[in-house]
């Protein structure tokens, strides 16, 4: 509404057609992870560790193997042993040994719920019964589940071969901290000393789960000739292929991964948990094997996002200029490294210009499931502390908190945290749009407070493959290797329709298996509409050139005498027209079939920025917080399909609200997760939420043919602080610890009363 208008006008880009896969999804026909059935398929079940930390002395599977109906049993002993081997696995590079141990424990278990054995049987009931017959002899070890304990001298050590990286000199003893990372510049201590006002404090958040509604599931069929097929829902079939092949020590080309529809991922389905196990069970049994997690298994054994403790000091001058920042954060990862400390440090201050700063990040491991990417991984926790301090300083200085952010905002031409020059970024435009929004000046009721929060995410480009071919009637087939997690078939069809100047419905989009198209990186990093979209546009442009060449040959004129107009080739001299159908019908007799492929490493991606405004009402009797109004503003580049851009903004905002108010892992004294279900792990439900108003600020990215920036991850970065700032202003108490559950708020209110 307050956004600057895009400079170009389009026929298809920016329209809101029905998505190509929509009908299948509203009628129940679409095939997701657990819906797929292979002929002769049997069922796998996992035996999981009841202890958060233990040494496995022995595993006796004899009784399980003897149970009628059991076709195969697998333990860690069935996995190939191998030296550490780095593979590309989604948004974080992983260590194949750790992936393997996470799929199946070998000598130690590192969290409650880690697999120790798996069974395949003719029914799930028999497989589960067989699991209960397996006898595991554990030597129970002391466990750690919080940052301070994991760092303490003499803490139980998860891995004896992990030494903290980033320390100088390098440590000679292993520890539970795999990484220390530092960035910054200038003289932050001097800048803080010179500041008019300083605020400081410790902020904390709990581990939270991505919370996709579809549990992990796959079917694997590994034949005696070494060739295998896997059907699964994931954020990247190629990543499933490479990591599964890596864990099993086999050739990538021997595994063909078919992508099924995916029921949510948010980063959490870039990971391999079940596939190698199902493969081994299939190889042993000679049958296709399905494995599927229960909800409890999803919580207890698939990737949450790390918890955090952030110590921060920020200083500002009287005019609101942020003079210096020093922050040190610790991210509480799980059983294996991968807590996204780097992107946390890179995002924390990236939306402001603060030359004098130091950011130190530590990764800490503990005896909970290994943490993995969750939407803008690492950014929300650190940003929560930064955006809370700005709010506090604005209160002290008597400044409008949006004005204070505008004063310090990063602009095009400023230097990024990486030292590169920032391109066409739109943070200032977002802040101005937020300030101009009626929400910002609307009156508040009793017990209500208004908070604002900003944030950024770097987005990504990277490798994608797309093919475009014409059917014999000239209709268009677009094929990519990027799973459609939230409407990307529609955006691919829109971009192809725009480029080819044909009707949206003339284009059909397929997501191909790993043997049917070239490599594409995962759907993640907010990269698909940018990178895969760019590949689709390039392939469409190749098709146009090809069709013009064919038409020129048919008319016997030079190529420059032809032009592409309204989805057809037009001869400039004669105004003759050859449609796609005309040329396609003759293709078999002329130059041959019409098809193009674009395999690219998409560069020129730009970071996205968001500003969220939140009104909360705090019930003084119960401490319950209600979100009464919410507005999300975001620099989206160009919105290809605005419904799905708004949907990303709304969904990300609500996940962030859940993170702020309700969600968090709770462990009992024995180290078991206490809330592994949706009743006790309380995600926002429909009646908790107001409408989420959205403002799309369109500042196109010059490096994409239609200006795409990537929109999926930014919207989870601002809400933690936006909600906490609103509650802080409603209660007059600074909220530094999430989630802000009613009991915590109530206790603070009682303390305030005195």
């Amino acid at each position: 509404m307050n956004a600057p208008l895009p400079t170009r006008t389009y026929r298809h880009v920016g329209t809101r057609p029905v998505r190509p896969d929509g009908l299948e999804k509203v009628t129940g026909k679409a095939i997701y992870g657990t819906d797929f059935v292979a002929p002769g398929m049997i069922h796998g079940a996992m035996l999981r560790s009841p202890h958060p930390h233990a040494r496995i002395r022995s595993i006796d599977t004899k009784k399980a193997e003897a149970l009628p109906g059991v076709k195969a049993v697998v333990t860690g002993a069935d996995f190939p042993t191998m030296a550490s081997l780095e593979v590309a696995m989604g948004e974080s590079s992983g260590n194949i040994k750790h992936v393997s141990r996470n799929c199946m424990a070998h000598e130690k278990v590192l969290y409650e719920g880690q697999p120790v054995a798996a069974i395949a049987a003719t029914s799930l009931r028999i497989a589960e019964e067989a699991a209960r017959l397996i006898v595991v002899d554990y030597e129970v070890l002391p466990h750690v589940l919080d940052i301070d304990s994991a760092f303490a001298p003499g803490a139980p050590l998860l891995h004896d071969d992990i030494f903290t990286k980033g320390l100088n000199p390098p440590p000679d003893q292993p520890s539970n901290s795999p990484l220390r990372f530092q960035i910054g510049g200038g003289d932050p201590e001097a800048a803080l000393a010179a500041a008019t006002h300083r605020v400081s404090g410790r902020f904390s958040t709990q581990p939270v789960h991505q919370g996709y509604i579809e549990p992990h599931a796959c079917v694997a069929s590994w034949n005696a000739d070494g060739q295998a097929q896997i059907w699964c829902s994931s954020q990247g079939q190629f990543s499933i292929r490479s990591v599964t092949a890596g864990v099993l020590g086999i050739s990538h080309a021997d595994i063909r991964v078919y992508p099924l529809e995916i029921g949510g991922g948010f980063g959490g389905k870039t990971i391999v948990y079940l596939e190698p196990v199902a493969m081994l069970l299939s190889r042993k049994s000679g049958r296709p094997v399905r494995m599927a997690m229960s909800r409890s298994e999803v919580f207890r054994a698939s990737g949450p996002a790390p918890g955090s403790v952030v110590d921060i000091e920020m200083g500002a001058m009287a005019d609101g200029t942020i003079s210096g920042v020093v922050m040190e954060f610790k991210y509480l990862g799980g059983a294996f490294p991968g807590a996204d400390v780097h992107p946390g440090a890179m995002s924390a201050l990236a939306h402001y210009v603060v030359p004098d700063n130091r950011i130190i990040g530590w990764e800490v491991m503990c005896n909970m499931p290994s943490t993995h990417a969750y939407r803008a991984p690492g950014a929300p926790q650190a940003t929560f502390a930064v955006e809370s301090c700005i709010d506090e300083l604005a209160q002290i200085l008597g400044l409008d908190p949006i004005d204070m952010r505008i004063k310090n905002a990063a602009r095009p031409g400023d230097k990024s945290a990486m030292g590169t020059t920032l391109g066409e970024i739109g943070y200032v435009e977002c802040l101005e749009a937020a300030k101009a929004h009626p929400h910002w000046s609307a009156p508040l009721g009793p017990n209500q407070g208004r908070g604002v929060g900003g944030g950024t995410w770097g987005n990504y480009g990277g490798p994608s493959t797309a093919t475009v071919s014409l059917a014999e009637d000239g209709s268009v087939l677009v094929t990519t290797g990027s799973p459609d997690i939230g409407g990307s078939r529609a955006s691919m069809a829109i971009m192809a329709a725009e480029t080819l100047q044909v009707h949206y419905e003339k284009i059909r989009v397929t997501i191909a298996d790993t043997s049917s198209i070239g490599y594409s990186m995962v759907t993640g990093g907010s990269r698909t509409t940018f990178a895969t979209g760019k590949a689709v546009v390039e392939a469409c442009e190749q098709i146009i050139t090809d069709l013009r060449e064919r038409a020129a040959a048919m008319w016997n004129v030079d190529l420059d005498q032809t032009e592409w107009r309204n989805g057809a080739v037009v001869c400039r001299a004669t105004d003759k027209v050859l449609t796609m159908g005309d040329i396609a019908a003759k293709a078999g007799f002329a130059k041959g079939p019409i098809a193009a492929e674009s395999s690219i490493n998409a560069q020129g991606y730009l970071p996205g920025f968001g500003v969220h405004i939140c009104d909360t009402e705090v019930d003084p009797e119960t401490g319950n917080v209600t979100v009464v109004r919410y507005t999300a503003v975001q620099d989206v580049g160009t919105a290809i399909h605005p419904d799905y851009v708004e949907g990303q903004m709304q969904g990300g905002a609500v996940q962030g609200i859940g993170w702020a108010l309700n969600e968090g892992y709770v462990f009992d004294k024995s180290g078991k997760m206490d809330n592994p279900g949706f009743l006790d792990y309380r995600m926002p439900v429909c009646s908790d939420m107001p409408m989420i108003d959205t403002v799309m600020v369109e500042k196109p990215n010059p490096a994409h043919p239609y200006g795409v920036k990537g929109v999926g991850e930014v919207p989870i970065v601002p809400p933690l602080a936006a909600v906490a700032n609103a509650v802080s202003r409603a209660t007059g108490m600074r909220m530094r610890h999430l989630p802000m559950t009613p009991d915590k708020i109530w206790a603070q209110l009682q303390g305030q009363k005195g």
Binding site: G651, M683, M689
Partner: protein, 162 residues
């Protein structure tokens, strides 16, 4: 363990099946009948992805034993459209982009249709509380609520005699 023989009506057709005494209606719908439009998100009645109608009442099929459906009427997402004609709720979900991954969508559509069958003119608040038993992690619910309100308006229009 001997199987139980059950006769029920599923989506208007007579259905006979054998099931374990412990099997849920969800298990039988998905695994025995191949009606995989009904999804399992939790198995504990907390997410609503498995919502179906049982004798006209909205239930989580993961909390109903298959044997309990003897002689009763079950209706699933597969029967919401009449042949190839989408129900207004389905159409409005598409028009609003009220689904992203689409996994929770069948449960939401069955629940929304049940609401509109009871209450042709719900307020936003009534929609939100009716759907509070259905989890969606993608959309933040905004477009879902708008789709249901618009479907209600569309259905009220249809009821006005010409």
């Amino acid at each position: 363990m001997s199987k139980m023989f059950v006769t029920a009506t599923v989506n208007g057709d007579s259905a006979e099946f054998l099931c374990d005494p412990g099997a849920t209606l969800l298990d039988v719908l998905r695994d025995t009948m191949g009606l995989t439009g009904t999804k399992e998100g939790c198995g504990s009645g907390d997410c609503g992805a498995c919502t179906v109608m049982l004798d006209g009442e909205m239930v989580c099929s993961c909390l109903v034993l298959a044997a309990e459906t003897e002689g009763r009427q079950v209706s699933t997402i597969e029967a919401v459209a009449e042949g190839s004609d989408l129900h207004p709720v389905q159409r409005q979900f598409l028009e609003h982009g009220a689904l992203q991954c689409g996994f929770c969508t069948p449960g939401f559509i069955v629940a929304s249709k049940a609401l509109l069958d009871h209450n042709p003119n719900p307020s936003e608040s009534e929609v939100r509380y009716w759907l509070a038993g259905n989890l969606c992690r993608c959309t933040g619910y905004d477009k879902i609520v708008r789709a249901v309100l618009d479907a209600a308006a569309e259905m009220r229009q249809e009821r006005i005699p010409a």
